[in-house]
Symmetry: C2
């Protein structure tokens, strides 16, 4: 799996946290520690899937196309990897029957696994992800504040 899915969730989470105002690929890339074009490539896919809308020019950027409680992580996954993604590679193709049948058997197993993943992703909305991530960020920040306090006290 490439990094499009994490980037997509980051974009959606970021837009949710912002709550309305448009965000540029530049800003999101800075926070994520990557290049704006990398973000835009994913942005573009999310746009085509109807999850966000993007506007060019001054004051442009992206906003959510639906409310965050109406976007599931499955929507995001399918937007960035439309074709089966958990399939194994197979060695150089040959016309023998046995390896072909075994290969198809393995593919079916992996497709089932991907279906299970999709069903699970469908139960989580971007809104819920946002809440979870925020909670953890608070915890992480508190922890680092605590450790600084301990250091200062010692």
């Amino acid at each position: 799996m490439n990094s499009d899915f994490p980037i997509a969730l980051h974009i959606l989470g970021f837009l949710t946290a912002r709550g309305g105002g448009p965000l540029t690929s530049e800003e999101m890339a800075r926070t994520y520690g990557t290049n704006p074009v990398v973000v835009r490539r994913v942005q573009s896919k999310l746009s085509k899937a109807g999850l966000i809308t993007s506007k060019r020019g001054v004051g442009g950027g992206s906003v959510l196309a639906r409310r965050p409680e109406e976007i599931t992580l499955r929507n995001a996954y399918e937007a960035v990897s439309p074709e089966p993604d958990i399939l194994p590679r197979h060695p150089t193709s040959c016309d023998e029957v046995v390896p072909i049948v075994v290969g198809e058997f393995v593919n079916e197993i992996c497709r089932d696994a991907e279906s299970a993943l999709l069903e699970q992703l469908e139960t989580v909305t971007v809104k819920e992800m946002d809440r979870t991530v925020r909670r953890r960020i608070r915890k992480a920040l508190n922890a680092s504040r605590e450790s600084r306090k301990r250091k200062a006290a010692s």
Copy 2:
């Protein structure tokens, strides 16, 4: 996912079909349409996991270390990919809190998916796979015989 898992299932299925006699990497590679070394690399992992035993020298090769109904596809999967395999990549690491937390969140989701895959693989034995694959091979061969017959008749 790399092609080790399909190759592992091919090896195990092949040894099951043979039913006792040792098979060389040379023979299996020929049927699979790949290089003997590629097969041996997977053989080696299956050996270390205790699923097959391999012997060097004249008359050597590999045999199943247990009965095929006592080897699950999960055993094969874990033998060839010990570490989580469905994880997404992440862009260049940075020390910001947000991308780290989002990245961990995504990793957890994918680990859950892999757990589901493993549980499913656990319910299928090499013996059962062998039966399924054999049945399909017979069907495929019959189909091609039928089509030859139709051609001959026309």
